[in-house]
């Protein structure tokens, strides 16, 4: 039950994009087409879960025993960057065409602050290893959900009669704000 609460909380209630406002850059940048948004969401979920697991291990098995917890941000950034490189190498080896198609998403994931945020928050909340995995999976799927909804709305907006002054970033940010308000409705789901 505890794990389900952690999962639902990260997915809907404390959604990393619409509650913590982390990962806004790819959320706005890659949400103009539904297909790109789904690809980005899935790639982020995969990397986020692996990165959180490795970051948790590094924190509790290296940083805490040596009393160098203040290095958490530096080490987590290194972990995320190197993991993305490793995943990139594996995809390049396993499927060159898929690597060619995903080329742009992988470097974007390295600079996604939501991934670092998940690793830092799971340490801050003192989650166990399994809780961290479930939390990061929920956070990743929450990111994928938010970016997919946003892409769907933006594709529809192309046919809407938007005032000239609001076209582009203006209407996108207003839409993101309304979406965040809508997600606030989930806050009563878990007490």
């Amino acid at each position: 039950m505890e794990l389900l609460i952690v999962f639902i909380s990260a997915l809907l209630i404390n959604n990393f994009v619409l509650h913590y406002f982390l990962g806004i850059c790819p959320f706005i940048g890659v949400s103009n087409r539904l297909d790109s948004a789904i690809s980005m969401g899935m790639a982020v979920t995969f990397v986020m879960t692996i990165a959180s697991a490795v970051s948790w291990l590094i924190y509790y098995l290296i940083l805490v025993p040596f009393r160098v917890e203040f290095l958490e941000i530096v080490s987590f950034i290194l972990v995320i960057a190197s993991l993305v490189q490793v995943v990139e190498m594996f995809i390049k080896k396993a499927s060159p065409p898929l690597y060619q198609a995903l080329g742009i998403y992988l470097p974007l994931i390295t600079t996604n602050c939501a991934i670092l945020g998940v690793a830092l928050i799971s340490v801050l909340k003192e989650y166990s290893f399994i809780e961290t995995l479930v939390f990061s999976l929920g956070a990743g799927l929450g990111f994928a959900l938010a970016i997919t909804i946003m892409a769907g709305i933006r594709e529809e907006l192309e046919f809407a009669d938007v005032p000239e002054t609001l076209k582009g970033p203006g209407i996108t940010l207003i839409t993101a704000g309304i979406l965040a308000l809508a997600f606030m409705g989930f806050s009563g789901l878990i007490k």
Binding site: G29, R33, W56, L61, K93, S95
Partner: protein, 139 residues
């Protein structure tokens, strides 16, 4: 399906190397500079229309097929990661720290995704973009 324009820079058997022109979909993307600056829009495409160096061509990307493969890759990776973590954490075959064991198994299992999926489906020609027509021949 998505259609984009590109210039052929090199022909290699049944494939052609292209430099894609920034399209409308790139226009409002905040990562345009990063994307085009990093790869210069270079890609490899199936060349069934016999395009030559310097030709301006239109190529097609099967986004649906790519998305399906990406979702499969991510889902299988995540499932294997969780299976590995649960085996390592709860069964702990090497009787070490449960978290360390869970993490090690999770990583090993998740990286097994690539050899498992490295089959025909992931290395097939179907994943490459394909040149559909020649817009302008190089004189």
């Amino acid at each position: 399906m998505r259609y984009e324009k590109a210039i052929v820079i090199k022909v290699e058997g049944s494939f052609a190397h292209l430099v894609a022109e920034p399209s409308e979909s790139c226009e409002h993307c905040v990562f345009k500079e990063l994307c085009l600056g990093n790869t210069e829009g270079k890609l490899k495409a199936i060349n069934r229309v016999n395009a030559k160096e310097g030709d301006l061509v239109e190529f097609e990307i099967d986004i649906l097929s790519l998305n399906k493969k990406l979702i499969l890759l991510s889902s299988v990776g995540l499932i294997l990661l969780f299976v590995g973590a649960l085996i390592g954490y709860y069964i702990n075959p090497f009787k070490m720290n449960p978290s360390l064991s869970g993490g090690t198994f999770a990583l090993v299992f998740s990286f097994l995704t690539f050899p498992i999926l490295k089959g025909k489906r992931f290395s097939s020609k179907g994943l490459y973009p394909e040149i559909k027509r020649i817009i302008r021949r190089e004189k």
